[in-house]
Subunit: 217 residues, 2 copies
Amino acid sequence: MKKDPRQVSMAVIRRLPKYHRQLQELMESEVNRISSKELSELIGFTASQIRQDLNCFGGFGQQGYGYDVEALYQEIGRILGLTKEYNAVVVGAGNLGQAIANYSHFEKEGFHILALFEKNPRLIGLQIRGLPVLDVEDLQDFGQQHTVDIGIICTNKDGAQDVADQLVRLPVRAIWNFAPVDIEVPENVVVENVHLSDSLHVISYLLHLQEEEGASD
Amino acid sequence: MKKDPRQVSMAVIRRLPKYHRQLQELMESEVNRISSKELSELIGFTASQIRQDLNCFGGFGQQGYGYDVEALYQEIGRILGLTKEYNAVVVGAGNLGQAIANYSHFEKEGFHILALFEKNPRLIGLQIRGLPVLDVEDLQDFGQQHTVDIGIICTNKDGAQDVADQLVRLPVRAIWNFAPVDIEVPENVVVENVHLSDSLHVISYLLHLQEEEGASD
């Protein structure tokens, strides 16, 4: 049964990008339809989980036929808002900021990076994939001339909250934060904190567990 | 009640790095003890979830006293295997590989990057934070001279599975994959695929939802 999107849990939403990615790969391999069981083997969720997740947004599948790969891909893309266009700026033009700006896949999905901002004078004036690296002092002026939907923070930990405050004043509607600290923003601003070390800690846990299992064998 | 660590769900494990990070910040602010209710406000999980999570590993808290911040921090670090030392190599020395190699925080947590590997001759021979960028052709030789626990893949999508296969032959025990494709490895190798665009898709979803709510007001 189709739910109001506002009632779908964030746990389901966080699984949708994975479905979207897997369906894209199936399309590239010219697979036209897939059962929840086959999708389960590819994606690692149970078939029952998959049926439950996708039912939240209305039934895409047909009993005995499975899912139409392209229709499901398009529909999940639409749910995720990937049919929209967003403008973004990157603050912090070090290696990570440059890596993000260089990742042309975002552009294809409608995320347009307009510029990078930086305080280090050695980086200001550079071009990254044709995008200018501007002085972070000019961020507010830039915000008066352009609509910026998303601010991407690629600074170090110490500068991150200050940059977040500046981005909120632009105003941006969302912040994608790569600095290794949780930033605080007003409630109406969407924030996603990406903590790279969290997944390294999970690796560490699993290696440690393997060692203990090896020791107890 | 304390569970056998092998019976703790991965959902709990994936929350532990967040507790660890939050407790570290509390220690830096010289907070010695904290209730599950206060921790809940900082971390965004419910107090009941927090008590349930931390009980999996034995009761750290005392009724009416709360949690001893440093003891809990140390214990979670121990569970996550952060008291161990791991050797790692980075394959792909572009911006993202360099950003990872430059991030000295990993070193402090016991993750020692030994070298970066690259096929682009313009990058081979560089030093990143004192670490050599070596020819990827020399990866197998390097593996015979050094114990490498973790391989970090920072190549593009097309090269990733081939690099993963090479890392498995080294052998590494775990792969941390930043290439935008899920890689396949034998069952005994730990793999964490980091898909940066997944969290961007969540931002996109939330912005899209805001727009629809705005439109229906």
